[in-house]
Structures are given as structure tokens and as C-alpha cells.
């Protein structure tokens, strides 16, 4: 495989005991997980907006371009994303998936108050958090095998002042949207990684 100087991956500095075969298998497995995440995150977003009412559930819903308290913003625009090295991409993914489970948990707690009878929504939010934790674990293994340093753990998530119901609905929307967008990005990134580390 071609050596990319900008690449953070350095086989010589590899600290994990996984063989080339094992790494490739792990990558393939993780790629499959991102396929699942892509599908589930779309369903979750649809289920979420359904319960918040209009305008959230309208197909041309334009969420306000305002930052929601406590939600970290990923800092790489889509075009630059594809130009990154594998290692850098993995780094960003690891950071996102370290934060997402906590955020999804907060949304579930808020929805337990806002929509107490929406058991399917609650179930999907819990499943999403679980899947994100799974992906985070997989990414950690891959990064360890490839000698990529991980990001620092996320700062303590939302604990801020209680927001009003509308802001809670909006915040939850952003989290579900982010979850879906990151699922798409991770699917893309793992696909690229698979071609580089074929079985």
C-alpha cells in the first residue's frame, strides 16, 4: 500500500498486536456496522420529527441556524473531509462517537417528558446510543492497530440550565440530524479504509 507522508498511520509505530488479516476483518466488520447505523439513523430522525409536530415533521423544515447549548460542532467541512488522511478521519469519527451516546441519552430523557407514550422513539434512541458506543469501541481497536492516537474524552455533556420545550425539541432534532450525518460520514470513511485494507 502507498505510503502517505501526511498520514498519521505508521505501521512501524503500531502498538497493537493485531495482524494485517485481523485489522482488515475489523475494518470490514466496522463498515457493516456503519451500514446499520446509516439505516437506523434515518429511521430515528423520521420517528423523532413525527412526534414533535409541525414544523419539525414537515418535509421542508428549515431548522434555525443557531447553535444549541452544549452541542459540539464538528469543525471539518465536507469537501475538506475527503481530502484528509485516514488517520485524521478516524480521529474525527472517534471524537464524534465519544460524544454522541451521551447526547442521545439526553434526548431520550427529554423525550420521556415530552412524549411519554412514544415507546418506539425511546427504544430507537436507546438503540442508537448503544450502536454509537459499539462503533466507538470498534474505532478504538482499529486506531490502536494502525497506531493512530485517539482524541481526548469529551467534556461533560449537557447538564446546563433546563431549556424550554421548544428548544428541547430543536436540540433533539439537531442531535438526531448530527447522528445521521455522522453515520453517513463514517460509512464513507470506512468504505475508503476497506479498499486500502482488503481481506
Amino acid at each position: 500500500s502507498p505510503v502517505d507522508p501526511a498520514n498519521l498511520l505508521s505501521p512501524a509505530a503500531s502498538s497493537s498486536s493485531l495482524s494485517q488479516q485481523e485489522v482488515a476483518t475489523k475494518i470490514k466488520q466496522t463498515h457493516s456496522l456503519t451500514v446499520l447505523l446509516k439505516h437506523c439513523s434515518e429511521q430515528l430522525l423520521a420517528e423523532y420529527v413525527r412526534h414533535q409536530g409541525e414544523p419539525f415533521s414537515s418535509p421542508d423544515f428549515q431548522p434555525p441556524a443557531m447553535a444549541v447549548p452544549g452541542l459540539p460542532s464538528p469543525s471539518v467541512p465536507p469537501e475538506a473531509w475527503l481530502a484528509l488522511s485516514d488517520g485524521k478521519r478516524l480521529w474525527h469519527l472517534a471524537a464524534a462517537y465519544a460524544a454522541l451516546p451521551g447526547l442521545l441519552g439526553s434526548v431520550r430523557r427529554q423525550q420521556a417528558e415530552l412524549n411519554p407514550l412514544a415507546s418506539e422513539l425511546h427504544r430507537q434512541l436507546e438503540a442508537a446510543a448503544r450502536q454509537c458506543r459499539g462503533l466507538a469501541g470498534n474505532l478504538e481497536r482499529i486506531m490502536g492497530a494502525l497506531g493512530v492516537t485517539g482524541p481526548p474524552p469529551p467534556s461533560s455533556s449537557l447538564g446546563g440550565p433546563t431549556t424550554g420545550a421548544f428548544l428541547a425539541k430543536l436540540g433533539g432534532y439537531h442531535v438526531c440530524r448530527l447522528h445521521r450525518d455522522w453515520a453517513m460520514r463514517s460509512h464513507e470513511a470506512l468504505g475508503l479504509l476497506r479498499t486500502k485494507y482488503p481481506l
Partner: protein, 387 residues
């Protein structure tokens, strides 16, 4: 979508947040039919004018006639005769700038206060627990999420307990699994609460021993009485759970012909564990169920609560007519030569042919039932048949 993500991603991380606008009141709760005046105050940094704003409720634009400019940066809206909330998470009242972007929102909770829950009924399974169910007071909707809490206390000890396991026997039910006292009355009631208020049901008073039910009888078998064409013999065993308690069980049997929905009930079965059904139609398949009522627990003269019916058991009568009777314990047996000979044969097989030990006259009877059923279906015209 991509451009939006881009835009959103490029926003700097803000520690202390300044919202574009603020709606007041935030998340009010209102009774159906009431009115509300809300205000939207935009942040002066945004250089938006009150005249440029508009309101929507659940995505629908509100008429400008209901707006009022209060000052350069504040616009109010007057809502009258509000309908019940369209979703339990609240109606979305939103303030927009002229280009349609959302500046702020507030959720309205419009509904009715709850009504007293009614028809509280409880039962105890084998004196080990208590399950209660009730009905909501309102026939229709309250539009607001209503929470139900079942509470109970011993009549003379004063401490309120709250039931924890809900929806065990339908939506409006709760299960108390343990620590229940016998021979002493309980007070039980249900509280319904939503954002608009609380309603408490009437208090029901009961002693666990008065509402005992048990499992249906076990091992229900229905068999022919020799060749008797109008009779079937039903046998069962008493529910094992109550064998430790001093009680008398009453039983009830219900039976019907295969293609009828009408059950016939045999009521005066008493404490026995077998009964003979008579006056039946020959050559007919019957479904039979048995249930149990644990009465006379610890010497009480009161009846308990009937158990569920046992799973239906089927059997069929042989052919020809006879005089009707009910649960007649005395009746002669008439075996045909064939059946008698078969019975002897199977007895011999059981003794002498190893590996054939599950052959018995019962198998022959089951075959006769099957024969009768398949004979019936063969003569039925099925919906897909061409005539």
C-alpha cells in the same frame, strides 16, 4: 442539506448563548377554549424590525390581524378559543423573520383537567399479590398526557403505599407483587394527574381474602364414555397453588359444539374433579373448558373470583340418539364387540411388544375423532372451490 450542515458546522462554539429572539410565555398550560397573548422580542443586535416578523402555530401561519407591534423589537399575537393540543409534546408556536427562518418557539399545552378514575376492580392470585384495574373518568380525550398512580394503605395503619408495576393487565392497571396482609382491610384509590390538575377516585375498601382467584384447573381431559353417543366424561385436577390452603373449590364447566359460538354452562359441579356431560348430540365434536373458584378460604363463606377458563379441550361423541340429563354419575357402559376386542388387543400389545407402549384404546378414540373431522372438511365447500 449539505450547505446547511456546512453552515451549522462553521458556527463558533458559543459558551453563553444569545438567542435571536425570545417568546413569552414559555410552555404555558391552558384549558381548552381559553385565550392567550404571546410576545416575540427579537435581539436588538439582529437589526430585525417587529413589523417584519410573523407567527405560525403547528406550521400554519397566523393571520396578521391578530398581530400587534408593541415596540420596535416586539410583536404580539392574540390567540382565542384554543383547541386541544394536536400532539402531547405541545403545540409549536413559532416566531419567524420575514424570510421564513425560525427565531424562537414556545410549546402550548391545551387540554382539560383529568376526571376521577372509576370502576376500580382488584383480584389476588393465590393470595400472593394484588392486581387492580380502573377506567379513566373521561370518555374522550384530555389532550394532555395523564399519569395514573394507584395508591393503597391498610385501613388502620395510615401509611400510603404507591403501586410501581403498571400496565400488567391492560393500559389502566397496576400490580402489587408482595407484602400484602390478609384478614385486614385495605383502602385503594387511583390518582389521575396532568398539567391542569389532579383527580382522585373514590376509595375502594377490600380484604385480600375476598378477591382471591387462582389458576385454571390443570390436566383437563375429555373422553368418551364407552360407546355412549350422548355423553362425554370430563376430568381435571385442582389448581396446585391452593393445595396448601384450607379451601373448597367450586368448578364450572362450559362446553359447545364445534361450529357454534353458544356455550352451555354446567354450574353445580361442586368440589369434584370429574363430571359426565350428558344429553349431547351424537357424532359431534365438542369443546370443553373448566374453571375454578376458590371459595371458603380459611373458613370464609364468601366466594372468590372465578379463574380463567382452561384451554379448550376437544372430543367427539359417537353416533345415535338418547334422552337429555345433566352431570349424571350413574350410567352403564356399552362396548361394541370391535372396541372390546381392540382394547384387549392393545392390552396384549403393551405387555408383549416392546416399543409399542403408547398404543392404547385412547389412540383408537382419537383416530375416530380425526376421522369424523376430516370427513366433515371433505364434505365442506371451500371458498376457493369452483362450483
Amino acid at each position: 442539506m449539505i450547505t446547511f450542515l456546512f453552515l451549522w458546522l462553521c458556527l463558533p462554539r458559543v459558551e453563553s448563548l444569545t438567542y435571536p429572539a425570545v417568546i413569552s410565555p414559555q410552555d404555558p398550560t391552558l384549558v381548552i377554549g381559553s385565550s392567550l397573548t404571546a410576545t416575540c422580542s427579537v435581539n436588538s443586535d439582529l437589526h430585525l424590525k417587529a413589523e417584519d416578523l410573523y407567527w405560525t402555530l403547528n406550521g400554519r401561519r397566523l393571520p396578521p390581524e391578530s398581530y400587534k407591534v408593541l415596540n420596535g423589537t416586539t410583536l404580539s399575537v392574540a390567540l382565542a378559543n384554543l383547541n386541544g393540543s394536536r400532539q402531547q409534546s405541545g403545540d409549536n408556536l413559532v416566531c419567524h423573520s420575514r424570510d421564513g427562518s425560525i427565531l424562537a418557539g414556545s410549546c402550548l399545552y391545551v387540554g382539560l383537567p383529568p376526571e376521577k378514575p372509576v370502576n376500580i376492580t382488584c383480584w389476588s392470585k393465590n393470595m400472593k399479590d394484588l392486581t387492580c384495574k380502573w377506567a379513566p373518568g373521561t370518555e374522550g380525550e384530555t389532550y394532555l398526557h395523564t399519569n395514573y398512580t394507584l395508591k393503597y394503605k391498610l385501613r388502620w395503619y395510615g401509611r400510603d403505599n404507591t403501586c410501581q408495576e403498571y400496565r400488567t393487565a391492560g393500559q389502566y392497571s397496576c400490580h402489587i407483587p408482595k407484602d400484602l396482609a390478609l384478614f385486614t382491610p385495605y383502602e385503594i384509590w387511583v390518582e389521575a394527574s396532568n398539567r391542569l390538575g389532579v383527580a382522585v377516585s373514590e376509595v375502594v375498601m377490600l380484604d385480600i381474602l375476598d378477591v382471591v382467584t387462582t389458576d385454571p384447573p390443570a390436566d383437563v381431559t375429555v373422553s368418551r364414555v364407552g360407546d355412549l353417543e350422548d355423553q362425554l366424561s370430563v376430568r381435571w385436577s385442582s389448581p396446585p397453588a391452593l393445595k396448601d390452603f384450607l379451601f373448597q373449590a367450586k368448578y364450572q364447566i362450559q362446553y359447545r359444539v364445534e361450529d357454534s359460538a353458544e356455550w352451555k354452562v354446567v354450574d353445580d359441579v361442586g368440589n369434584q374433579t370429574s363430571c359426565r356431560l350428558a344429553g349431547l348430540r351424537p357424532g359431534t365434536v365438542y369443546f370443553v373448558q373448566v374453571r375454578c373458584n376458590p371459595f371458603g378460604i380459611y373458613g370464609s363463606k364468601k366466594a372468590g373470583i372465578w379463574s380463567d377458563w382452561s384451554n379448550p379441550t376437544a372430543a367427539s361423541t359417537p353416533r345415535s340418539d338418547r334422552v337429555p340429563g345433566v352431570c349424571d354419575p350413574k350410567s352403564g357402559e356399552q362396548n361394541t364387540t370391535l372396541r372390546r376386542e381392540l382394547k384387549q388387543f392393545f392390552g396384549w400389545v403393551k405387555k408383549h411388544a416392546y416399543g409399542c407402549s403408547n398404543l392404547s384404546i385412547k389412540l383408537y378414540d382419537q383416530w375416530r375423532v380425526w376421522l369424523q373431522k376430516s370427513h366433515k372438511t371433505r364434505n365442506q365447500v371451500l371458498p376457493g372451490d369452483k362450483l
